[in-house]
Subunit: 161 residues, 2 copies
DNA sequence: ATTACAACTGATAATAAATAGCGACAATCT
DNA sequence: AGATTGTCGCTATTTATTATCAGTTGTAAT
């Protein structure tokens, strides 16, 4: 009656200085969804000895423990990391600006309905989702509008739209 | 008055045998969302001379022309390709089975409402989206259930679910 | 505190996915 | 036909990530 408990995932995990630095870093800037390079560069300022392999290793461990999220949001093949806190683990999405590259969080629960529909019609048990919306962010939209106005009306003429 | 038309994207594109093979391949199997390796291996059966660099090159060109989609659905950093036909270009999502790796399409328009909400609350102009749901597909769910039943009731007893 | 052991470290080599460079070839236009 | 230039196959290179390995360190038991 005991041989069923074979999935011994009691992988001991240690609390090293390097791991703490990574978590601190993600807690500070993690909402910006950082690449490994970005995390590495920031931590180097506090620990000039740290190796990028250690950053990769710890991020993988932290992801396996469910403490951080690894997402592929951009159109390239680079992984982005963020802290996964209980509150936002299941229902926040990413808005990615194609012009300036900004990654903006968006909280929402509308997808819950969609997931139920998927289970009903496809028999697919949804555990998680990655959702990314691509487009132009508010700042860039405004910048573009200003730039276009300048082209269409080079003389500062006042009035009209 | 002519120097504005600087964005000459009149990149001439030629209709080569290799490009046709790639499109044919995606049309046949593309709904399975193929990797470059998979496409390359299949085409090699018809054209033993083709180079994988050509497959990469053409897929990039076809994506720039808007004829194919490049998506990062899995948890790894590999790109998957599919034909982008007008009908399904804006509103189909991917269900990815974490057990067998199957990638299943799901048609839906519920996200349109979500996009409108994003524009309203964030001022973000949505152009496109990638949506991926992770979980266990119907087949794997059934297999798992059968396997668990076998464990819980090793004797072939008949009856009961 | 000392010991013991496995997880962890930094440095580097190895792998995988994708791109760049290059001479040869071929599709298209005149 | 001849010129132009996109494309081909090949190979080298880049980029992101993982594996290897000898030495180090966190942690728990002595």
């Amino acid at each position: 009656m005991d041989e069923i408990r074979n999935d011994d995932n009691k992988k001991e995990t240690r609390n090293t200085r390097q791991k703490k630095l990574i978590i601190d870093c993600l807690n500070k800037y993690g909402s910006n969804h950082m690449t490994v390079e970005e995390i590495f560069n920031l931590i180097q300022q506090q620990d000039t000895q740290i190796s990028i392999a250690t950053v990769y290793r710890n991020l993988r461990l932290l992801e396996e423990q469910g403490l951080v999220n690894k997402v592929f949001v951009a159109d390239d093949a680079t992984a982005y990391y963020e802290i996964k806190d209980a509150a936002s683990s299941h229902s926040h999405h990413h808005l990615i600006c194609r012009q300036c590259g900004a990654i903006i969080d968006f909280e929402d629960d509308l997808l819950e309905a969609l997931e139920k529909m998927i289970t009903l019609t496809k028999g697919f048990q949804v555990q998680d989702h990655h959702v990314a919306f691509y487009g132009i962010c508010r700042d860039c939209t405004e910048k573009n509008k200003a730039a276009q106005d300048a082209v269409e009306k080079p003389a500062p003429d006042e009035a009209r739209q």
